[in-house]
Symmetry: C2
Subunit: 241 residues, 2 copies
DNA sequence: CGTCTGTTTGAGCGCGTTCAATAATCGTGG
DNA sequence: CCACGATTATTGAACGCGCTCAAACAGACG
């Protein structure tokens, strides 16, 4: 069973084997690691269940482990002493956690929903890397695309208007959504605000402005339907109104 | 000569062998690559001089090369269609350029001063990586610390005030400065503004407010002396006034 | 000396914030 | 099932930080 779990953690996204997104991710790592060697990976990993709301990585602590999300959602964030918070990313199924750390974790992580992760010790990870050079390559790839995303977020935080930020956010959520037109948000308005560098009031006002402009439909607080994708894309790219 | 240049590019920072910062960087990569193999690296690299103001990486172009800065300074940035710009980082001596790209470059890069870089083709880099697994490990380390920096910048752009941003900027520049108390800035006020998500006017006003508060001394537009480091640190961490 | 570019300074404005009140949503127990 | 309290979201009114627009100033270079 442990072997199976790890295969899922590294190769497949446990919960959703039908999921296009996750199986696409899994492809790249499954293809580089020989199936016969997979049981070896299992020896170095451990499956963990984390309840919603639990903080499982704390900024500043020595970075001993490395995680891969296999089910559920988490938020990663940084804090200022007075409580101001910046969410640097949301981790969805298949995502790696712990790349942004050297000796200590450079961020905190908290489960948004009940969460399943596969945990690897850094020591075990090092052993794995020497055994499977392809793993290191895979991690570098992941770090690269993480960096690309980080730059896009800096552009957003530094230069985009509130409307543009929310439009970008909706499109980003759409990319990881199972159904393309309806988003199920697992985060609160406060989380969205802290992710986009805004206040909850502005998030709320802007979303309702979108609704009035017939760009979206808000069926429920957590369920948003994208009506005018073309216009949302224009907005997100800074060419909207 | 080519061999020597590459040794410098990967191992040492050409111009400044006395420089504490650069030799510290070089240590980590020199130690993992056998001296006898260094001439092999040379076959895959090429030294390039870039005049000040020249744009040598353009966002969206196919990412064929990988760079290491050996002398001078560069700025990396992203643009919105209407010209709004976010500088995502400044590249100083010893820094890697090109990690944040998958198939295409995700950013543009322009020389701030006359610049020297060592260029590696991605193809050559792949060959090198299989030959020197330690190189891949080194790149992953570099990507990790880049990610850590990116998160700090998101916190800055999303949640810090103008004063806090400028204080953080000054400290960041101090870290790469040869003399610890006097900064020589190679970028214009416009660049600083685009780096911190502010306008040139706010940058100018805030710096002069710092001068009035006796936190800094502005000898020349490009030369800033840090007077009250304690207070600047407090400000940067969000605990100042 | 004038020209060009980059910086500083001033005055007024506006986007997003802050503060405050209301409304919706969820969980819980009777 | 509804009543109740706690939490989260929405809406309104007023403020203020940083922006915009505009003018004056400084430095570099021919």
């Amino acid at each position: 069973m442990r072997t199976n779990d790890t295969v899922r953690a590294i190769g497949h996204c446990g919960q959703c084997e039908q999921c296009e997104h996750c199986s696409a991710r899994s492809q790249s790592i499954c293809s580089v690691i020989d199936q016969r060697d997979l049981h070896q990976l299992a020896l170095h990993s451990q499956k963990i269940e984390i309840p919603s709301g639990r903080c499982f990585i704390e900024e500043g602590e020595t970075a001993r482990d490395f995680f891969i999300v296999t089910d559920g959602h988490a938020k990663l964030f940084n804090l200022l002493p007075d409580g101001r918070r910046q969410i640097t990313g949301f981790a969805d199924c298949g995502q790696f956690l712990g790349l942004a750390s050297i000796e200590n974790y450079a961020f905190s992580a908290e489960a948004l929903t009940s969460l399943r992760v596969c945990r690897f010790s850094h020591i075990g990870m090092s052993l794995l890397k020497t055994q499977f050079p392809a793993l290191e390559r895979r991690l570098l790839e992941e770090a690269s695309s993480e960096l690309v995303r980080a730059q896009a977020r800096m552009l957003l935080l530094g230069r985009k208007t509130a409307r543009e930020r929310l439009a970008s956010f909706l499109l980003e959520r759409q990319e990881v959504a199972p159904r393309s037109d309806v988003l199920i948000l697992s985060m609160t308005r406060t989380d969205i605000a802290d992710y986009l560098g805004l206040t909850i009031e502005t998030v709320s006002r802007t979303l309702n402005a979108f609704r009035r402009d017939k760009l979206i439909e808000i069926d429920h607080i957590t369920s948003i339907k994208l009506l005018n994708l073309t216009e949302i894309r224009l907005l997100a790219d800074g060419e909207g109104f």
